[in-house]
Symmetry: C2
């Protein structure tokens, strides 16, 4: 996939694209292309030559057929909330935005399945399911603006992944367009299906590099009616991690178990000029349990509280009504923005086996000290998935440019030594791809490259992503 030689969009190709999507849904002016030139990954900007907004599988098939024939790169884009540059048109060409494919085709209450188009905002699916007493659990932080198609591309997670799993655990069927325009369906509303290789599971998390999902069948669950949210401040991260392990051993699987480092709370306090509870703790754990019976939840909340205190928490605070719960989550959600607003930053999405979290946090701290660079961590403790933000605070541009790659590489090497990997839920995309050989063997990378070639022999679909350059 190195040095791809793509063609530019000629007036003829532009005209053909316009014929497919219609005058109103094709853009070439810089002003119109601006929204399609970046996602939420750092300050990266790449302009496409053209942005097209197809309305159907047929449109997408025709676009791909045209671009395939003419060797034009195509990058699919959902909500543009990605954190690894997956939707950036790094080789120009066409941005294919799924924003018009935004129909929730069906909430199937008999089979507990949803059928949706890729441009559906995740939160809209949450609401549509809830209206029928059902539940789509996957809840990335960007749920108000990210799309199901993007969630599938990245195999999105979120706090509830701990109990309910990630996007892959809900994808049961896909309609897809291949880079050459051919359309295929795989899977269905089937809880079990072993008729051939599981292409749907290969496509989930493939970051838009294999094909374009245009219709998606997702499993739904009954909607839990109640929850309890708990906040436990700890003086030691090791204690917090042990408490977490004990909670699992006591047969409680919380619907979330989030970790917030002191510096992250402080950052949120600074940004929002507001005092958060227990901001002097070394680490906060934020738990949620959900279910249908309040007595069971109270019992679970009590057990979690007891365990936390036993393992050194100063106290435990339980929110048993939606307002207080929202307040705790608000703090958690504010942290990302707050940390990122301190200075230029680079966010790494490290993941290790849950029990090795304290070691990971120690390693992060050691690497920070060694290089004299600020890092602030928070994330999904229950999944061992920590977002480590490397912050360019008081150091020069030169220092930053020199140190950053070293810090990242050391961090990733430590993660791999701990049995972990370099991305838990953000994906590899553009910004992590050349670190991938730290986590994956040559054999694995070779298999992945060949799988890419099976789907996309010309390499026109989301080029420059996921696979390392060399």
């Amino acid at each position: 996939m190195s040095d791809p030689e793509f063609n530019k969009i000629t007036p003829e190709i532009y005209k053909a694209l316009k014929n497919i999507v219609g005058d109103k849904y094709i853009f070439t002016e810089k002003f119109d292309l601006e929204p399609y030139s970046h996602d939420e990954t750092e300050d990266l900007v790449f302009y496409p030559e053209v942005a097209v907004l197809p309305a159907s599988t047929k449109d997408i098939s025709e676009i791909m057929s045209l671009c395939h024939e003419n060797n034009i790169p195509v990058t699919t884009r959902g909500g543009g909330t990605g954190l690894s540059g997956g939707a950036l048109p790094v080789y120009g060409g066409v941005i294919l935005s799924t924003e018009r494919l935004n129909r929730i085709i069906e909430i199937d209450t008999e089979n507990l399945m949803a059928v949706v188009e890729p441009g559906v905002i995740t939160h809209n699916l949450h609401q549509a399911a809830e209206e029928k007493g059902l539940f789509y659990p996957v809840d990335p932080a960007s749920k108000e603006s990210c799309t199901i198609g993007g969630n599938i591309a990245e195999c999105a997670g979120g706090p509830r992944a701990l109990k309910y799993g990630v996007t892959k655990d809900y994808v049961y069927g896909l309609t897809c367009v291949l880079p050459d325009g051919r359309v295929f369906k795989t899977g269905g509303k089937l809880l079990k299906n072993v008729s051939g290789y599981n292409l749907a599971q290969l496509i989930v998390g493939s970051e838009g590099t294999l094909c374009i999902a245009t219709e998606i069948i997702l499993k739904l669950l009954p909607l839990p009616t109640h929850k309890r949210t708990l906040l436990a401040p700890f003086d030691s991260l090791q204690d917090a991690a042990e408490a977490l392990t004990q909670i699992f051993m006591k047969k409680i699987i919380p619907s979330a178990a989030e970790f917030i480092e002191q510096a992250a709370i402080k950052a949120a306090e600074d940004k929002y000029e507001k005092k958060f509870p227990h901001s002097d703790a070394v680490a906060l754990l934020l738990f949620e349990v959900d279910g249908d019976r309040e007595d069971v939840l109270d019992e679970q909340a009590e057990k979690i509280g007891e365990i936390c205190v036993e393992y050194g928490a100063e106290d435990v605070f339980v929110a048993d009504n939606p307002e207080k719960q929202e307040e705790m989550w608000q703090m958690r959600r504010n942290i990302g923005e707050a940390v990122k607003s301190i200075a230029i930053y680079k966010e790494e999405d490290t993941v290790v086996p849950r029990a090795r979290l304290p070691e990971l946090v120690e390693k992060i701290s050691a690497i920070s000290k060694k290089h004299g660079i600020l890092t602030i961590s928070y994330g999904h403790a229950g999944d061992g998935n920590i977002h480590c933000n490397i912050i360019k605070k008081d150091i020069s541009d030169e220092d930053w440019n020199e140190k950053l790659p070293k810090v990242i590489e050391e961090l990733f090497r430590e993660v791999v030594i701990l049995g972990g990997s370099i991305s838990g839920e953000h994906g590899i995309g553009w910004v992590q791809k050349n670190y991938l050989p730290i986590a994956l063997s040559k054999v694995e990378l070779e298999l992945m490259k060949k799988i890419k070639e099976v789907f996309d022999p010309k390499g026109i679909l989301n080029p420059g992503k996921l696979l390392p350059d060399l």
Copy 2:
């Protein structure tokens, strides 16, 4: 993959194989090879030239390297309980049995993961996990003799799949040997991981055609301590199916919801010369709910009972102690054997969206009548996964040979019209492969063929399986 031209095992190759595994672990005599010549698929028999019993990843790597170089077909075999012929050495060559790779390497109580070798008997993992208060939910009917490696090859299910999912939902990491002998690891003890394509999920369910898993990381859950088992006889299958849908809508996800057709119960009564409860019902539903709080389970059992009665069940019987529960399950497990002992049979593993089960059963009945051939169905109602047994009872060999392919093809076509597929948990293997084009499109099949070629360009690993001949 059509008409592969493989080589025979020469004395030199035999000697090299013996050097790898040792004198005691290589067999060539017909008597010794007999156990490796069949699985549980009908009465099919194929002898390998040689059976080898490696003890390590290294052994397997060396065997594959040797066979790859010499173009010798290799078929991996676990417990030999497969129902689609996946472990049959249809082109002779080497049977590679995983029986000596039977170590449970670790039950990791901190990360709730197990690390096992592929030859571990599924039930042994159940027990090892239970001893530590943990739970490996996947429970194929053959759990006492099937292996984790075989379960991964077939993506095995079982009754508990309804609440807990199938094998793929538990596989988080694999060490694998490629057909050319190269070894790679993918995944890990990581609940979230989006570092490259999800090779582990592609390998699960690939029926031993892509590579050989030699070490497996599986997710475990806390062990539920209590259960309730219920039996509900219905006069109409439609009523039974509606009751089932209502149960899900009332937010209960049973850990099992099995369906047994009257003829299946009768067959079990005949075989075991024993009267089963409610054997005069048109359909029986067998439910199980599990959890940690008996009051919650009693409440769920009561709700299920009420719904069943509301939707026409004559009565509902609850087993709340292990002996009575085992009795109900005994009946369910006996049915497979009983139905198969009536006469020569062909079992199809149809799967449809759950709510379309009554239509599927009606179609099966219509096809039986049309061709004057006996069918008996039972299976996992909650998953829409019905095992339809076509029985050669009173018809001639000629009639059977003529009618059987027609019946199967008609059945599969109806299944696909209902939004279903041709195998829910048994796999495609040898016996279903030429029906696969009924369920999958040309595009999908082409992608699968090319994926096979990525892993196994010479086509030596489990040749003749999964992919259709043409």
